[in-house]
Symmetry: C2
DNA sequence: TAGATTGTTAATCGATTAACAATC
DNA sequence: TAGATTGTTAATCGATTAACAATC
C-alpha cells in the first residue's frame, strides 16, 4: 500500500504533468517536476518508483507514459461515485468547486434534511432528503462521501454512510470522526488550518524581528 | 518552535475542552482527551507538555487551567487580522464559514477583481478591488491571508501579499506556492484530498474483499 | 496504603536525505 | 567518450511508541 503522502503527491504530479503536456513538453526530469511541486527531486523519484514508473537515464521521463501510468495507478477505470451530505453554504460551494474538476470523481447525489432543498438541482447535482440516503447510495453504488454538515450531526452521518458500505470520507465538519479501521477518513478542518497559519505567521514575524535585533547588535 | 502537527492538535484540544467546560466538567485525564481527539494518550501528554501544561497525578488536568494555557499559547492577545483574496463561490462560502467561528481570527477585508463586487458587504466583510490591497492591508495591519483565487492567479497574489509583510497564507488554489522560508503556507488542495479519499476507499474495499476470500478458503 | 495517573527516558519505527553505482 | 541523469543502497533524522520511575 502506497503511503498517504505519496498518493497525494502523485495526484499533484499528474496535474502538473498534464499542464506540461498541454504546453507540448514531451520528456521531463525529476528536478523539473520537483521544482513545480515544491518537493525534492529524490522525493519525486521515490514517489514515481512507488507507482511503478521508470525513467530513462538520458531523456528522463516520458510525459505521456508517466501520465498514463499515474492515471492507471490513481483512477478507478469505472469512476468513483461521490455523494455530498449537507447542502448549506459550504456544501454548495464544494459542489460548484468539484463539479467538472475531475471527470472520474462525479458527485452524483446531494443530501440535506432541509425540505426546501428536496428535489432541487444544484450545480447539476440532485438534492435528496436524508431518508433516501440508503436507496440512492445503493442505486448509484456510492463509495465516497463528502461530509459538509454541522459538527453535531457529523458522527451520525458517518455511521450511516459506513453502514451502507462507503469506505472513504472527506470530512469538513470540525469534529474527529470515529470509524472502523477499514474506512479512510480525511479530515479537512479549515478552522484548525487557519489557526495554524495565524500561529506560525506570528512566530515567523517574531523570529524576523529578533533576528533583525541580533543583526543590529553585531 | 512547536511542530506543525502539535499546533493543530492543541487547537483541537482547546475546542474539545471548551465543550467539556460547557458541560461543567472540571478535571480530565489524558485518555479522555485522547478519546475525543482520536489520538493516543501519550500523544496528548506530549502535546500538552510542549505547550507547558502540566497535570496532577491524581486528578489529571484542570480543564479551566488547560484552556487558559492553550489560549495563551495559541492566541495573539491583540487578535490576528485576516484578509481573503477571491470572492467567488468558494470565497463567499469561506467567509460565511469563518465568520464568528474564532473571534480572535477576524476576516476584516475581502478582495476581488470583479468590479461588481467592489464595495459590497458579504457576511459582514467589505469587498475591495485588488488595487487597494496595499492600502487596506496596511490600514488593518493584516498578517494572515486566505487565497481563494483560481490557480493561474494564486502565485501573483501570494507575491503581492508577502511583499506587504503577510507571513501566513492559507492557500485553497490548486497550485503549490513559491514563497520565502519566513512565510508559512498551508495548502488546502481539496481536489487532492478527494482523490486521496477515493483511492484509499478503493484499496480498503479491495482489501476487505480479498480478506473475505481468504477467510472463505480457510 | 494501593492504584491510577503523570512525566521522563529509552527503543522503535518510518520517512527523508545523502552517497553511490549503473545507464544511455 | 563525457556528462547528466536514473535507480539503489546506506545513513540520518524525527516522530511515535513503549517501558519505567515519580506522584498524589
Amino acid at each position: 500500500m502506497i503511503s498517504e503522502k505519496t498518493v497525494g503527491r502523485l495526484s499533484l504530479y499528474r496535474r502538473l504533468l498534464s499542464e506540461m503536456q498541454a504546453g507540448e513538453v514531451r520528456t521531463t526530469y525529476s528536478h523539473e517536476i520537483a521544482a513545480l511541486a515544491r518537493v525534492t527531486p529524490a522525493q519525486v523519484r521515490r514517489d514515481l518508483m512507488e507507482a511503478h514508473c521508470s525513467g530513462n537515464s538520458t531523456r528522463g521521463y516520458d510525459v505521456g507514459d508517466l501520465l498514463g501510468n499515474l492515471c492507471e495507478c490513481l483512477d478507478n477505470p469505472r469512476g468513483d461515485m461521490v455523494a455530498i451530505i449537507g447542502v448549506g453554504n459550504l456544501g454548495r460551494a464544494l459542489l460548484s468547486y468539484f463539479t467538472g474538476r475531475r471527470p472520474n470523481l462525479k458527485i452524483v447525489a446531494a443530501f440535506d434534511d432541509d425540505p426546501s432543498k428536496n428535489g432541487r438541482v444544484i450545480h447539476g447535482c440532485r438534492c435528496y432528503p436524508m431518508d433516501e440516503l440508503e436507496a440512492v447510495a445503493r442505486e448509484y453504488d456510492i463509495t465516497v462521501a463528502i461530509i459538509a454538515v454541522p459538527a453535531a450531526a457529523a458522527q451520525l452521518v458517518a455511521d450511516k454512510l459506513t453502514g451502507l458500505g462507503v469506505r472513504g470520507l472527506l470530512n469538513f465538519a470540525p469534529v474527529p470522526l470515529h470509524v472502523h479501521a477499514d474506512v479512510f477518513v480525511e479530515n479537512l478542518d479549515m478552522t484548525i488550518s487557519l489557526e495554524k497559519v495565524a500561529w506560525f505567521a506570528r512566530q515567523n514575524a517574531c523570529a524576523a524581528v529578533s533576528s533583525m535585533e541580533e543583526e543590529g547588535k553585531v
